[in-house]
């Protein structure tokens, strides 16, 4: 089973957040990248764009289909990871670290209260994988 770092928070749409003050670094989880398979295309917002909690901030495509990337927090994008747009394979190889996607300056850090910690996300993934 995957190990999900303790210093991250997670939403049920398989994105993670690393919080430093008002800044939230966002990416997709190792579970998500494994479920998708090899990432073929990626679309991210641009710096200064706004993102809304529970709304798509981008999309990702593998041979299995298109998957909307759902933002765990609301705010303004202050940085986008150009390294993954140049080498998209990083999302598969290192999703929790160098595969980060965007940094958002949060509007409302209280939105973090609704996210899952690593243990809760681990249990959520186990339940999801068991469905069907």
């Amino acid at each position: 089973m995957k190990v999900f770092p303790d210093d991250l928070l997670y939403n049920r749409e398989h994105t993670w957040v690393r919080v430093e003050g008002d800044l939230a670094t966002i990416g997709i989880t190792d579970y998500a990248q494994e479920k998708l398979g090899e990432v073929l295309s990626l679309e991210l917002p641009e710096t200064d764009d706004s993102v809304e909690r529970d709304e798509p901030f981008g999309a990702i495509e593998s041979a299995k289909g298109v998957f909307e990337l759902i933002s765990p927090v609301s705010g303004e994008v202050i940085s986008v990871n150009d390294d993954i747009t140049d080498d998209i394979g990083i999302i598969n190889s290192d999703p929790h670290d160098t595969g980060w996607m965007i940094v958002v300056e949060m509007n409302d850090p209280e939105e973090l209260d609704d996210l899952l910690d690593s243990g809760e996300y681990h249990d959520f993934v186990l339940r999801e994988a068991g469905d069907g």
Binding site: R12, E13, K35, L36, L40, S41, E43, P45, D54, E55, P56, F57, G58, A59, E61, A63, K64, G65, V66, F67, E68, L69, I70, E128, A129, G130, D131, G132
Partner: protein
């Protein structure tokens, strides 16, 4: 396209049964996959000359020239026990439903369990020239291509079943083109097939839809109930149609910005 996305979006907020929808196209139309670069994959000038509109799908995959085909859309929750939790499992189940329907018309379609090597001269942009796992083949030629989008635990799967296939028309609007046109046409013929090639009697779109509905009912052990869009879905559809699917920017460029 707006109707399919409206159903998909509404499912994200309401716990409702899966939806199956069939439709055709009033005019020959090219549909593009979500991420496709229109300039690299479709001859826009040729489409304009021939009055062929281009619409971008919310689903992935490659471009399709729709002309007399039966298009289907399935929207469901990925936790619904009718569909396996894994993504390919959903393709597999829906392919079984479609294969069951085609069998009623005397067409023996098989799932593509392991991707065929693509034909080098085929149009890489065209959906039907690029089989992927769990798509449907008849005698190793593709008869049904499918693609998905997923969000908030809901999937929308699009697919297209060809009634007839004209490789010349497809080659006229798809890019890139290889230098050897005749060879390209031959490869397309070898890769793609249609309902009309495998039925002795005249089979029309209505017969195909009825057979496919039976295929879904028998395979899934369900009874389909005819429905209409809810007022909420109608409202979402109207907004999507105006702001997204009739918007040149979405159709030509795509993108994840808020369209509604």
């Amino acid at each position: 396209m707006a109707i399919d996305e409206a159903i998909f979006r509404f499912h994200q907020h309401e716990d409702m049964p899966p939806t199956l929808r069939f439709y055709g196209w009033k005019f020959p139309t090219v549909s593009l996959g979500y991420f496709q670069d229109v300039e690299k994959e479709v001859d826009i000038e040729a489409c304009r000359r021939k009055n062929i509109p281009v619409v971008r799908r919310p689903t992935g995959g490659k471009a399709v020239l729709h002309e007399g085909d039966v298009t289907y859309a399935v929207v469901g929750r990925d936790s619904n026990p009718l569909f396996p939790a894994d993504i390919l499992g959903t393709y597999r189940v829906i392919s079984r439903c479609i294969a069951g329907g085609l069998a009623l018309l005397g067409i023996e379609a098989e799932m593509e369990g392991n991707s065929r090597a693509p034909n080098g001269d085929s149009l890489k942009a065209s959906c039907f020239s690029s089989p992927s796992r769990y798509e449907l083949l008849v005698k190793n030629r593709k008869i049904c291509g499918s693609a998905q989008v997923r969000s908030h635990g809901i999937f929308l799967q699009h697919g297209s079943i060809l009634m007839e296939f004209n490789p010349f028309k497809t080659c006229d609007v798809m890019l890139p083109r290889s230098g050897d046109y005749e060879r390209q046409i031959l490869r397309m013929k070898q890769s793609v097939t249609s309902v009309s090639e495998h039925t002795d009697r005249a089979v029309d779109v209505g017969m195909v839809c009825r057979a496919l509905m039976t295929g879904f009912e028998k395979t899934l052990g369900i009874e389909l109930v005819k429905g209409e869009l809810s007022p909420e879905e109608e409202e979402i559809k109207a907004v999507l149609m105006t702001h997204k699917y009739m918007n040149e920017r979405w159709n030509m460029e795509g993108g994840c910005r808020a369209w509604i």
